[in-house]
Structures are given as C-alpha cells and as structure tokens.
C-alpha cells in the first residue's frame, strides 16, 4: 500500500482521527527461551514490546503523543529557525522509507498523510481530505469541534479517496 497512514490533529495538538494502512511485513516466527530480553505488555488487544530490543523487534510508543510533539515542531520551530521571512510550518518531511505531508487549515486543523516516497498527488489528496472532513464531520450535527471524529461516512469517504489517490487518479468535481 502506498499510503501508510492519515492523521488529523486539532488546534490544541490532540489527535482526533487516525487511520493506519500499512501491510505488516511477513511476520517472522522466533523462538525465545527463558529469560526473555524483552518486556511484553498487552496493548490494544495485541501483545507489544514495551522495553528492550532484540533482532529488530523494537518497542512502540503511542502515536498520539508523537503527533502532539510534532505539531509543535511543525509550526513554532520550523518558522522560527527559518532563514526566510514568512515561512509556514513544516509541509513535507522526507526519509528514505516514507514521506510525511502536512496541510494546515486556517482554523488550525492539521491533516497529516504518511505515504511512500514515490507516491504523487498527495497535495490534491490533502485538499480532498479537507473537503471530506468539512462535508462529513463538520456538517454532522452530532459532531463537536476539536473532538475525536467518529463519523462513519467520513471513514468511508476517506478510504474511497485513498483508493483513488493510490491509483493516481484525479479527483473530479463530483467525486
């Protein structure tokens, strides 16, 4: 899958929507003997490593705290250290494994998309996600602003938009 995740962050830096799409790599089966080098814990109905590292099995940390930290980075530091006047926050961050795109609206909502570095058309996708957000979350009378988004139509349309983006299609006026 070329688009790995989509996150929506509210003005205060809290994560209000998260969608993860990465195919887990073929899980390797390893046999450990007692005593283990790793500390396991139950998290979200899965057992994950909370401490220790062995053969590439590393601990996970909560995405919500990372998003909060990142939101601060996006704006404040990126524009303070800027050598040019009038810089925005970080719009795109590139590593060898993924590209992170961010779109900040005038109301302070940030849409973050984590995609394959070769994936194109993410700018259009970000604007499309903003459109879907305003259609299915903001116009929903039961949705309160800045709260976690729990709207089924938002989920459905978001997945549809991601599929279109992965096929490198363009969003028509009616889609």
């Amino acid at each position: 899958m070329a688009i790995f995740s989509v996150y929506v962050v509210n003005k205060a830096g809290g994560l209000i929507y998260q969608f993860d799409n990465y195919v887990p790599r073929a899980e390797a089966e390893k046999t450990f003997s007692y005593p283990l080098d790793l500390v396991l814990k139950i998290h979200d109905e899965k057992v994950v490593v909370s401490f220790g590292q062995r053969d590439g099995i590393r601990g996970m940390s909560s995405v919500a705290t990372s998003s909060g930290v990142f939101r601060i980075l996006l704006f404040a530091i990126g524009s303070q250290l800027s050598p040019e006047v009038g810089s925005s926050g970080i719009e795109m961050l590139e590593t060898d494994m993924f590209k992170l795109h961010c779109f900040q609206t005038l109301t302070g909502i940030k849409f973050i998309v984590l995609a394959d570095p070769r994936q194109s058309g993410i700018d259009a996708l970000l604007r499309k996600i903003y459109e879907i957000y305003s259609d299915f979350a903001l116009k929903n009378p039961f949705y309160s602003l800045e709260m976690p988004i729990r709207c089924e139509l938002f989920d459905q349309n978001l997945k549809g938009a991601l599929e279109i983006a992965e096929k490198a299609g363009n969003f028509g006026p009616g889609s």
Partner: protein
C-alpha cells in the same frame, strides 16, 4: 536558487561550524540558543521519524520543507551532522553534503593535527574552502539584495 546557511554539529550537540550566505531573517535569539534549538529540533525529528516509520529505516530522516525553505540533513556514522538550508528549488542535496563531509571536513579537519575535535572549528582553510565549494554549486546564485 540559493543556499541560505549551513551548520555542522558533532555528536554531543556542539556546533562545530556555521556558515551563512543568503539569510534573510534572523532567528531573534542568540547564536548559541539557535544552535541548541536547531540541534534539539533535529534530534526530536529523528526520533519521531524512527517511531512513525512503517518499515525499518536505513538512512533515516533526509529533509523537510516549508513554504519558503528546505532543510537538508546528512549524518555520518560518527555522529557528525551537516545541515543545509536552501530554497525550494533544490531537489536532493544529500550527495553534496556527503561531498562536503568527505572532501572538506575529513581532509581539512580530521587530518589536521592541530584541530581539536569537539570544539568550534578554527581552521581558516576549511572555512574558505567550504565557502568556495558552496559558491561553486550549480544551484547557488547570489541574489540581488
């Protein structure tokens, strides 16, 4: 297309070298604070990238861009970090930063018996060579003020 400035940090976070060519806006804080802020920001971004990455990373964080500038990052296995701010027209400066490390830093600093690693680099030769190198880059053009 232009290069704004360049930082070189060692693995403890001390700034070894800072060069400026085309900077329009100062940070509003002292140079020491700016170096610490820059190092801290990159440290946080690297750790953020390693947590967010869906697959194990080889090279790690490469660059980021805002609406006005692009920051390129190169780290050596010894912990030397080279950071270059350019404008948005520059696609990939990783090779250039690698060149700076191998032909300038290693040649004029590491191989210099008088240069103490870990302190501000005081080699004039290094500074002038780096300046010449940057000015010779294809995407560097001194902007009319």
């Amino acid at each position: 297309m232009t290069v704004h400035n360049l930082y070189i940090f060692d693995r403890n976070g001390s700034c070894l070298h800072y060069g400026e060519w085309n900077r329009k806006k100062e940070a509003g804080i002292s140079k020491d604070e700016e170096f610490k802020l820059m190092y801290g920001m990159l440290f946080s971004i690297r750790s953020f990238c390693s947590k967010m990455s869906p697959l194990d990373m080889k090279d790690g964080f490469l660059s980021f861009q805002t609406s006005k500038y692009k920051l390129h990052y190169y780290e050596t296995p010894t912990g030397i970090k080279i950071i270059m701010n350019t404008d948005l027209g520059v696609p990939n400066a990783r090779d250039i930063l690698h060149q700076i490390y191998s032909t300038l830093y290693v040649e004029y600093i590491v191989k210099n018996p008088l240069c103490v690693l870990g302190e501000q680099l005081s080699s004039d030769l290094f500074s002038t060579r780096l300046d010449l190198y940057i000015r010779a880059l294809p995407f560097f053009s001194p902007r009319a003020a």
